[in-house]
């Protein structure tokens, strides 16, 4: 599997933070920041952002615009980041370090698709030899 394009980490959760006290929120934010800072320091961070909770959903054929894009509160997208990793396993390993997991945040790890068809190793060697 090509890994040149990195991996998309998508953070989803219900509003797990609503019931935290300020003191707890400070602890959580410190651990999150430290985690993401570490990814940056290790040059594994290729980009990322938090997204607002409000938005619109434009729905399929009807083109109806919904103001409540999130059918399931559990699914709310909080942010994403693009991670550099050598394999899906390594990307998953990094995702498993996310401090939000303890609070019920789900992290979806998806390899970013390559623009060009993947070449089989044997074929690629054959091609270069020619």
């Amino acid at each position: 599997m090509s890994t040149d394009n990195g991996f998309l980490l998508i953070f989803r959760s219900a509003s797990w933070y609503q019931d935290l006290s300020p003191e707890q929120m400070q602890q959580v934010v410190e651990s999150w920041v430290a985690w993401m800072d570490r990814l940056k320091a290790e040059e594994k961070w290729l980009g990322g952002d938090a997204v607002e909770r409000e938005g619109r959903l434009v729905m399929g054929k009807t083109r109806v615009v919904s103001e409540e894009p999130f059918a399931d509160a559990r699914e709310t997208l909080g942010g994403y980041l693009v991670l550099k990793a050598d394999s899906l396993e390594e990307a998953v390993l990094a995702a498993q370090q996310c401090p939000g997991l303890s609070y019920g945040v789900d992290v979806e790890v998806r390899p970013i698709a390559s623009k060009y068809p993947r070449l089989d190793d044997a074929v690629s060697q054959e091609l270069t030899r020619r």
Binding site: S21, P22, E23, M25, Q26, Q27, V33, M36, K40, G79
Partner: protein
Amino acid sequence: MATNVTETAPAGLAEHLFRREAGKLVTALTRVFGLHRLEGAEAVVQEALVRALRIWPFHGMPRYPAAWLTQTTRNLALDIIRREANFEHKQQQLIAFMAQWPGRAADSAPLQEADLRETRIRLLFACCHPQLSPEAHVALLLRVLCGFSAAEIAGAFLIAESAILQRLAEARQTLREKQVALVIPDGAALFSRLEQVLHSLFLLFNEGCKAASGEVLSRAPLCQEAIRLAESLVEHPAGDQPKAHALLALLLLNGARLPAPAESAGNLLRLREQNRSQWDRGLIARGLYHLARASAGEVLSEYHLQAGIAAIHCAAPSYAATDWAQILDLYDQLLASDDSPQVALNRAVVLAEVRGPQAGIDAVLAIPDLPMLKSYYLLHAVLGELELRQNNPRAAATYFHTAVQLAELKSEQLYLTRQLQACLGR
């Protein structure tokens, strides 16, 4: 104040920054939203903290975290003001006010700081409104001014979170229904309200050290908050009264001795085994300063007397070298204004130091309301201790046996069990 709990300072953020800022921001918002919308102010601040939680990880810690939170709170508040119809008539005025409040923390304007301090004291007085119970005062202070969650307050008081939530909801409703204004009362009303404030701060502090057993980690912070609030109170003209200084002195002098076994606070018997080198000299110095300020007037309140007693303990190089005679004198005065059996019990312990254990035992048995103390472990512990000193290990053992069964804290139970074994060993 040092605590038994090891708290590592977070990388980048000041300790308790979120909690402290939450208290400040709710205070500042109350100026705009009014006391009747306290919950709205709390919700806005909570939302600002949530935004920090969602956004900071992606961009790293902001250079000025407090300023970031302030600005975000301001924006969220402005959104609400613009959106809500009942703010409409005030909108321009409020937007103008909000626009200059509270400024960029980076250049923290002293004027706005003063404004915030003023609001904080007004809120302190409002939270201690006579229509509310002292328990409600304490819960409100912790929630609104100190940034604790209902769960944290419940944890510290060892009661259900739902009970605290209900207490807070009722308190906010009362403030709303009675249309309590965000002003400091004046004249005679100020005098009686200040009494309420002092009493509630005293209660808050005692909650903090009563049974700060190490089993409940969140208690020492309550003592710190009580001291912080009392300090900001005496810095304000309305609170700059001898009695307020006396209370602050008492909190500081008792707080100074908390780093030692906190569970022994209020238990004179265990003062003997405290390591005095662990007492916080800085807090003692501040306590003595405010005790001096407290003696400015004619008033001699219970806080004066108790602070005086605490000061003698703090000044004594050892348990044996304590000026017990002077402490006894203060206890006699205290008993004249507060004839509660608890005070009488403590006085008896002191009396035993001055006139011997038998005098102490006699004094305990002569307490008029003695039956009220029957299920109080300390009564039996005191009698056990005094009987032991009288060389009556058998009588002492009986008392200690009862005390162990009544003691709620593990640390007290351990201590009493040791004493009991000492009796049986003789």
